[in-house]
Assembly symmetry: C2
Homo-oligomer: 231 residues x 2
DNA sequence: GGGAGACCTTGATCGAGATCAAACTCGACC
DNA sequence: GGTCGAGTTTGATCTCGATCAAGGTCTCCC
């Protein structure tokens, strides 16, 4: 397998600020990997000590109870960072929602490299703080919002997240987009059942708030109404 | 107001690894402040740009909806870090649950200082990663656990958190402890109503799983049962 | 383009937890 | 000690979302 050069080039967020010799060093450590939709990102080492960068695609981070209930606790988009440097194994498991390409690093190598490159640690810190903010906002949704509010908030969030996937100028939220989630996965993000999600989608459609041209496609017809519903 | 020297001494987590001149520089930036139970930690600057370290006491981080529903999205114990360096204002508001002492820094000063001291940024990163792990585990609770499971998980979590508040050798989880939360605040942590929390406490008491000598005091009688209930 | 199966929608019913309402407890303060 | 009031418990009822149970639809693959 060749060094994962494209991931360090594409992943501006992680690598910005490193000058060239440092990028070269990071690139020799990373290995590119593809993961098909539905496949887990299996950590190759026995000790489960890997970290990764998303190059392309969307992955979910989930935790489950012993009896099989699942909660999606995070979603990783291109340029996002996956894994848990500097500590015990993260409890979450990672599964690709779409075909994905990632750049994988051994955790030990990555940790050592990060310690030697403060600029990388700084980027990682900013990114982790942002993720924590987002996660806390989601706690509000899970603990206190009703099903209609959850669905509306979810659609607005997806609209924002899927807007700036490309590299162009920030174009604002997307009016139409393709969900990387099945109905069950939407339920697992929102702490609902698949039936409730389906009913809420149907209601939004019949109220003329959204159009649903296909199972995965969403077109927002009345953003104001969604924002009102989102609470 | 004098430089906040005790906070940097006591807060090993933030300051470990900095050699003495650096500690001196940090200590000139921080100002000690006390906050009474129930009082918000009001950010003094107009632009709400402060960060802080907890020296003593417990504080809650909350988000609220427009119509007044509240969710506690984090709890800060001694040595924990509060605030949002390197970015826009965090959405959460901070209120002391007990009388508290904190060490406050101007965000700009702190940011600049952190950028110049990679060891501090590293500590901050480890801490933020741990907090993210904890927050994600809480998402599972909020999204997928039943009221009895939530209460049991909460009590076990409190037992762990309140155990190593002191500086002695790690003594394992506490068998009895004083909750820093009112019933309403427990409800706000767990995404329940106060009535449901009260009923679950009463049930655990009459089942002999816990003793409740006073409103705020808890004694765990049957930890195994709690762990079973926690799911 | 036809069949199979995964995924999704819809309907009927149920129940956990919310809501509404009232009594009780405990500590603070006079 | 008595009173006041916030905080808590307990009870009755209601409701939202879960659960149970069919159908329906899209897509993949031959």
């Amino acid at each position: 397998m060749s060094p994962c050069d494209t991931c360090v080039v594409r992943n501006r967020a992680i690598c910005a600020g490193l000058d060239n010799p440092e990028i070269a060093a990071l690139s020799t450590m990373g290995r590119r990997r593809t993961v098909s939709a539905g496949e887990p990102l299996i950590w190759e080492d026995d000790d489960s000590l890997l970290v990764a960068n998303v190059i392309e695609g969307v992955l979910k981070l989930t935790t489950s109870t012993a009896d099989g209930r699942e909660q999606i606790v995070g979603v990783a988009y291109p340029s996002d960072f996956i894994g848990r440097p500097f500590g015990q194994t993260s409890a979450a498991s990672v599964v690709a929602l779409t075909d994905a390409r990632v750049c994988v690093f051994s955790r030990n190598d990555f940790d050592r490299f990060a310690r030697e490159h403060p600029e990388l640690e700084h980027k990682l810190l900013e990114r982790t703080l942002s993720e924590l903010d987002r996660t806390r906002a989601w706690m509000m949704l899970l603990g206190r919002k009703s099903a209609p509010e959850k669905i509306a908030t979810f659609l607005l969030d997806m609209s924002d997240r899927l807007a700036d996937n490309g590299c162009g100028p920030h174009a604002g939220p997307a009016r139409q987009f393709t969900l990387p989630f099945s109905r069950q996965q939407v339920a697992d993000v929102l702490g609902l059942t698949i039936e409730t999600v389906s009913r809420q989608f149907t209601k939004l459609k019949s109220d003329g708030v959204v159009a649903l041209p296909s199972r995965r496609d969403v077109e927002i017809l009345d953003r104001g109404a969604l924002q009102l519903l989102a609470g």
